[in-house]
Symmetry: C2
Subunit: 119 residues, 2 copies
Amino acid sequence: MSSLLTIAHGSRRAASNDEVRQLADAVRAQPGQAYAHVETAFLELAEPSIPDGLVALVGKGATEIVAFPYFLAAGTHVAQDIPDAIAEFTAKHPEVAVRLTQHLGASAVLPAAILNVAG
Amino acid sequence: MSSLLTIAHGSRRAASNDEVRQLADAVRAQPGQAYAHVETAFLELAEPSIPDGLVALVGKGATEIVAFPYFLAAGTHVAQDIPDAIAEFTAKHPEVAVRLTQHLGASAVLPAAILNVAG
């Protein structure tokens, strides 16, 4: 059973964190989407943490998790901090397959999406 | 003649700013896109600034500019700083129509785009 974890930076502004959670709600509600669960985790400043978010998905029955960095730039967070957090989880839960995707900013679908936003 | 200005936060990391510029290149290269020019500007920490980016588009002949905030969250930058910077430009160039779009994080196309990234 495959689930999606959207990983955001996290903010001191509760409204920003809620915006990310609402995005996960919208992803979950997309017609035809096949993930059993779509949840959100935060690198810092908000809960759940990445390991806690992964553990929560396992608690819901996930055996495969797609981890999606909701980041625009390939900085240290994307290149190191997120992989480290996933590795921390995987060391304790080797039975769960976690696949880390590209970050949003590197997505091949982003240019077309931007044209849709801009109109 | 309508042009698109992608507005990013700007980073101390040159590679992050280059990533945004490359995204503008990719938007410009999208098949069927109708903007005469697609350029990038930065709120801070990188050049050009938002007013300078708008002026540069006018110099290329733009009479309508779509300003797209390449931001994930609707914080102060999106709600106030970017509109203020555009207002600074518009006060000097009332003949140029600048339309400010939703920020990326609020885009209705983002949930589907995320499912495409995550696979």
